[in-house]
């Protein structure tokens, strides 16, 4: 375990996930913030952009003035990190990238799902950040790719079914994800303005969402995937409809989910139990690194419906990145991520 504080910087510190990284590093016993870069806000205090961080002395610096650091978190738009990765790795021993640039295994996948890749030789080196499915490869990793939020929600929900043979990969899997507005980033656009965005249940990616590539890579099967933009700020809630070939009991499902997640520090199960929140709920994990998964059996049409809820900026991005860094650097896995959320709370 790392026994002294390591320095950490955030590239792209003025964005939403950049702000979350700064919040998490501030609370982390083993990390000390060194720089937060922002071309637009160079010289401004971090609190002027992220009001929850008012009172900290840190000011944004120009990305051209990046200093040497132990850990560098890069919260840049897709395509930037692959162009600047040499600079990032020159200044930092460990780079954790929150974009899609190093999530996939092959250049061919980037050709199919993105706009190609300029540094495909590094894809073998990069490790996917989600510890629940890749912990064994994260220890000591120095190039880490934080997963996509919608992919993370979907993978966490379905992974136990593939791990325990409930699904083999030949079955049809239908995934419907409801997402909050922060997925669009701080930049926004016409569709993100409040009058247009508030109150919607808007199918924004009926098919062909890029996160399908990650899901397929880690579950070994393609999925029928649709995303809806709904009236939340934070949160991704995946509902997955699967149709196993053989008979499945609730005991089988509980066995699969418990064996997969019972010892995971950030996974909770909610599948019909008691109380008001009987299934995974984005409100219950807002602001936290927790993921909730649950399911229900529908014998009448041989369906299992799986639910998964995360905070897209935490478990689906910044929280996952810090969790992976903790594993890679030998910190306690929960360092900086102990916050358990709020209840009651309004729209997250």
């Amino acid at each position: 375990m790392a026994d002294e504080s390591l320095s950490a910087s955030v590239v792209g510190g003025s964005g939403f996930t950049g702000g979350e990284l700064l919040r998490l590093i501030d609370a982390h016993s083993g990390l000390e913030i060194q720089q937060a870069t922002s071309r637009s806000y160079d010289g401004k205090s971090v609190g002027s952009v992220h009001p929850n961080l008012r009172g900290t002395d840190l000011r944004f610096s120009d990305p051209e003035d990046l200093e040497s650091v132990d850990v560098l978190f890069t919260a840049t738009p897709h395509g930037v990190s692959m162009e600047q990765v040499d600079t990032f790795r020159e200044v930092a021993d460990t780079v954790v990238d929150l974009s899609a640039d190093f999530r996939l295994d092959s250049e061919a996948q980037y050709d199919e799902w993105y706009d190609g890749h300029s540094r495909p030789e590094l894809l073998d080196e990069a490790e996917y950040a989600l510890p629940e499915i890749n912990r064994e490869n994260l220890a000591g990793a120095d190039l880490i790719a934080s997963g996509g939020c919608n992919a993370t929600a979907t993978i966490l929900g379905l992974y136990p079914l593939f791990e325990h043979g409930v699904l083999s990969g030949s079955e049809q899997v239908v995934v419907d994800v409801k997402v909050g507005s922060s997925e669009g980033g701080a930049g926004g656009g016409e569709a993100s303005s409040h009058p247009e965005r508030s109150g919607v249940v808007r199918p924004y990616a009926p098919k062909g969402h890029r996160h399908e590539a990650e899901i397929e890579q880690f579950l070994g099967t393609s999925v029928s995937f649709t995303c809806h933009a709904v009236d939340m700020t934070r949160g991704a809630s995946a509902t997955c409809h699967v149709f196993p070939d053989g008979p499945v009991s609730k005991g089988d499902l509980w066995g699969a989910y418990r064996e997969t997640y019972e010892d995971e520090p950030f996974m909770r199960m909610a599948a019909g139990g008691s109380g008001v929140y009987r299934y995974p709920e984005p409100k219950a994990v807002a602001g936290t690194n927790y993921g909730e998964v649950g399911f229900e059996l529908d014998p009448s049409n041989k369906r299992v419906v799986v639910f998964s809820a995360i905070d897209n900026m935490m478990k689906g991005s910044a929280g996952q990145a810090v969790h992976a860094a903790n594993v890679a650097l030998g910190f306690e896995e929960t360092a900086g991520l102990e916050f358990q959320g709020l209840h009651p709370v309004g729209a997250p």
Binding site: W254, M269, A271, G272, G275
Partner: protein
């Protein structure tokens, strides 16, 4: 300790358990009724159904 009849997880029980008592499983949240104490036996407690589509 007893086993949850819903998810199979171990459920920690307190010492002065009483028949008829309702406890909830900390793993799956199921409400469980204590039907015997020596040894402890848990059964799934009946739950109030809700259907907002009616």
């Amino acid at each position: 300790m007893a086993e949850c009849v819903e998810c199979g997880a171990d459920v920690a029980l307190h010492d002065d358990l009483e028949v008829g008592e309702i406890i909830d499983c900390t793993t799956c949240g199921a409400e469980l009724e204590v039907t015997d104490t020596n040894p402890p036996v848990l059964q799934k407690a009946p739950e109030l159904e809700e259907d907002w589509g009616e």
